[in-house]
């Protein structure tokens, strides 16, 4: 019996293109009526830094605050705004000098205080205050001031047009904290947060787990009008080792995990579990060049490298076939700006050798590359080194811990090439401003490209998605065409749960993080 004979393949319609769920024949989650109550135990690899969404700096924070926060502007998996699940019911972005949000009525923070325009003003003012050291502050530099027009109407006065406003409000900075709790708790608020979301934080045992309980007064409803969340209790255990996570799931100690790629085949073959996938969960492997550092200041040599690497081979050997060769730019598939028709370098050794000749180094050369070790990165870098040897490039790998590697490459000009990965950032302005703009942190050589700066400014000032698409296509044409930064592999994110855990088909949000308020354990 083939896999597809035994399984039903359902599209995660609620989430759009990114998500697919493979369910065993008896596990038709979508057809079941949700049952209230029960507890879900999840294992995550990363501990939260702080639970206050704007103060936390760890990549692992969002896994946690997504459960107890709502967004001023929520978004679907392609990052298109979704007013029905947002704290703002509607918005007006037609004026380039301001953004006006009409807030949902009757929403309360977990401490019982009202969510209103004054609360939004308090939150954005707090974020903009340098003393708060808010992580997303740089993304809010377009904001001049915030004004509470009336109880439920709030206006952001802007210094310049802010095209990515709605996407930005779907991330950290758009999560709302209770002003009363922030004032009362001071620095302790960082680990005792109070927001508006479906769950309330009941307990945070540092290094061990975060326990949440249902927000009984939550305003959110599912598609049939039933109140959310379904669960009484949610426990997110911090389990750093993926092997132990898998063992814990198999032993029944936890109910839901992100699945390492090496285990996906085993779980798809096991009728006891359902597996959900999210394609484009991030850029798993990319070539990041320092455009000012020889020999990678030479466009032809950059193109030679990009043509010499065979992502299919890496996917087969390292990812067990569970990843996708990148077809577009830094905003991966599923994002509204993703465009796989943009011409980009792909594996072709003859072309690679041509570019070596054009670049004036037909006999090859020796070059350093920075990398950081991980289960996937390390073998990938070794394969890349072997593949580049085929066109005469001798790659010396300089290995650092991830934070140091990132700092050394982008700030310390350590090497001309960085072999790394990238989180899923579907809003093109976030990546474009940070990577391609002449003053962007991830523009390692701080190379000024007037064409890109102009396009990025235009994109940042345009709100209408349809008008923004062609702008970011032009950005991709330059960046990929000149091999300024070349994504090679898009990741697929996998989640697995026993068959009695329902709602797996709706678990992924636009950032490939899990949103657990629609999950429930089926009894009996």
């Amino acid at each position: 019996m083939t896999e597809l004979d035994r399984r039903t393949l359902l599209k995660g319609a609620a989430l759009g293109a990114g998500s697919t769920v493979l369910l065993a024949r008896h596990g038709r989650a979508a057809a079941d009526k949700p049952q209230y109550g029960g507890k879900l135990r999840v294992a995550y690899q990363l501990a939260p830094g702080a639970l206050d969404p704007i103060v936390g700096r760890s990549g692992g924070d969002a896994y946690y605050w997504r459960q107890f926060c709502d967004q001023l502007v929520d978004a679907d998996s392609s990052l298109k705004p979704r007013p029905e699940t947002s704290l703002a019911e509607s918005w007006d972005v037609s004026d380039p000098k301001s953004v006006t949000l009409r807030l949902r009525k009757g929403v309360k923070f977990h401490d019982g205080t009202a969510f209103n325009a004054e609360a939004v003003k308090f939150n954005i003012d707090r974020l903009l205050d340098p003393a708060t050291k808010a992580t997303p502050r740089a993304a809010f530099t377009s904001v001049e001031s915030v004004e509470a027009v009336d109880e439920h109407l709030v206006r952001f006065r802007l210094k310049r047009p802010w095209g990515s406003v709605l996407s930005t409000l779907a991330d950290r900075g758009g999560a709302m904290n209770s002003p009363a709790a922030v004032k009362a708790l001071g620095p302790d608020y960082a680990f005792r947060p109070v927001s508006t979301g479906p769950f309330k934080v009941a307990e945070f045992v540092s290094g061990s787990h975060v326990r949440f309980v249902r927000n009984e007064t939550y305003w959110g409803r599912d598609g049939d009008g039933n109140p959310l969340p379904y669960l009484d209790e949610l426990v997110m255990n911090i389990v750093p080792d993926p092997t132990v996570q898998v063992a814990a799931l198999k032993a029944g100690d936890v109910d839901l995990i992100y699945l390492p790629v090496r285990e996906v085949g085993n779980f798809l073959d096991n009728p006891k579990y359902n597996v959900n996938t999210f394609e484009g969960g991030g850029v798993s492997f990319l070539l990041s060049y320092n455009l000012a550092k020889p020999p990678m200041d030479n466009i032809n040599l950059r193109l030679a490298i990009a043509h010499a690497i065979n992502p299919e081979g890496i996917i087969k050997a390292v990812y067990f076939g569970r990843a996708l060769p990148a077809k577009g730019g830094m905003w991966p598939n599923g994002a509204w700006a993703y465009d796989p028709t943009v011409p980009r370098p792909s594996y072709n050794l003859a072309k690679a050798r041509d570019y070596m000749r054009l670049g004036g180094r037909p006999g090859g050369f020796e070059m350093d590359a920075v990398m950081w070790p991980s289960e996937l990165n390390t073998p990938t870098a070794e394969i890349v080194r072997a593949q580049l040897a085929a066109i005469g490039i001798k790659l010396n790998l300089k290995v650092f811990e991830v934070t140091v590697a990132t700092e050394k490459f982008y700030y310390g000009s350590e090497a001309p090439l960085f072999l790394t990965s990238w989180s899923r950032y579907p809003e093109p302005d976030w990546n474009a401003s940070l990577i391609y703009r002449s003053d962007g942190y991830y523009n390692a050589g701080k190379v000024k490209d007037a064409r890109l700066d102009a396009l990025i400014d235009e994109g940042a000032a345009t709100v209408d998605i349809e008008k923004r698409k062609p702008i970011y296509r032009k950005v991709d044409e330059i960046v990929l065409g000149e091999a300024q930064m070349v994504p090679m592999i898009y990741g697929i994110t996998y989640a697995a749960a026993p068959r009695n855990v329902m709602g797996l088909d709706q678990v992924f949000g636009w950032d490939a993080k899990m949103y657990l308020h629609r999950m429930w354990p089926r009894k009996g």
Binding site: G56, H209, V244
Partner: protein, 317 residues
């Protein structure tokens, strides 16, 4: 004795100063701007925030000044707040130290419970089956990496047999039985390597003592083997074993770094690993201080135990 204790306690001071200063200097010698590391790469453009961080953590002052400022606060019990979680470092360490203490103690007891009887049996039956098997197992246990052994334990007792939890921590006060169930596998993973080393030490120390004249005399008087070994030889043989067991406490705490990460136990080891990776200077500094005090204290207690075990040892001279 009192003078000896006082002298040893005073010796703690330069040791602690040296250890904390070296760690302070090392953390600042790590590549990268500490303020940028704290802020996270993508947001590093914001100079106003960088300035605020440098001011708040005194990063704008020379290193010796920063150290003296930290020391002044530490002496009064203020270890500052974690730069990532914003919790008070003293609170965080207080919670985590208890967990590691529980794990370490459990592992140490397992180590002692296995190693001392096994070492005695090995020495008494030298060259025979118990010695050969015990030695082979000990060599295997020493050679085995702790994390690999831990994974094997999880797969066998957690997944295959389903007897014990695969990961997590329950406080003893919450549910003592469940707490022990959660602690058994990590303590076994941690204690087994230590047991192997202590067992080898026990064996050789006992063999040495068993060859001494007073043992021959005891045997000549017709004492039973049991009385000779347990009544006369063991106490003398224990002296070097106690030294090794004292040192093993330090090694067990070092091993806890890996085992706590593997089993998802919120102890000091994991706290320190996480703090180092996140460049959480305040937590690393506070953690090292507490761990250094703990190791010095254990060594001190071990030295005092000598005098209890061997009346010939006196510290007043």
């Amino acid at each position: 004795m009192r003078r000896y204790i006082l002298r040893r306690l005073l010796q703690f001071v330069p040791s602690l100063l040296l250890i904390t200063f070296i760690v302070f200097a090392l953390m600042h010698a790590v590549p990268g701007d500490p303020a940028r590391m704290m802020l996270g790469a993508g947001e590093s453009l914001d100079e106003a925030q960088l300035a605020s961080i440098r001011r708040e953590y005194s990063l704008d002052k020379p290193l010796p000044v920063q150290y003296v400022l930290w020391l002044g606060r530490a002496v009064s019990g203020d270890l500052g707040r974690s730069t990532t979680t914003q919790r008070k470092v003293a609170d965080e360490i207080g919670l985590r130290a208890v967990v590691t203490f529980e794990l370490g103690l459990f592992a140490w007891l397992i180590s002692a419970a296995i190693s001392i009887p096994a070492g005695i049996a090995s020495a008494v039956y030298r060259g025979r089956a118990p010695d050969i098997v015990g030695t082979a197992l000990a060599v295997g246990a020493v050679a085995m990496p702790g994390f690999w052994f831990g994974i094997m334990l999880i797969l066998l007792f957690g997944v295959r047999l389903g007897w014990l939890p695969t990961q997590g921590y329950i406080a003893i006060a919450t549910d003592p039985l469940d707490a022990l169930r959660h602690m058994l596998l990590p303590a076994l993973a941690l204690g087994i390597t230590s047991a192997a080393l202590v067992m080898r030490q026990m064996r050789s120390a006992l063999l040495e003592v068993l060859a001494l004249d007073y043992i021959r005399t005891a045997r000549a008087k017709g004492l039973a083997q049991r009385a000779v070994v347990l009544g006369h030889a063991l106490r003398n043989a224990m002296l070097p074993v106690i030294t090794v067991m004292g040192l093993e406490i330090g090694r067990i705490f070092a091993g806890a770094v890996v085992i706590e990460t593997l089993f998802g136990i919120p102890g000091m080891g994991r706290l320190m690993v996480q703090a180092v990776f996140q460049r959480d200077f305040t937590v690393v500094q506070g953690g090292v201080l507490v761990m250094a005090i703990a190791v010095l204290a254990v060594n001190f207690v071990t030295d005092l135990l000598y005098a209890v075990l061997d009346p010939r040892i006196r510290y007043d001279a």
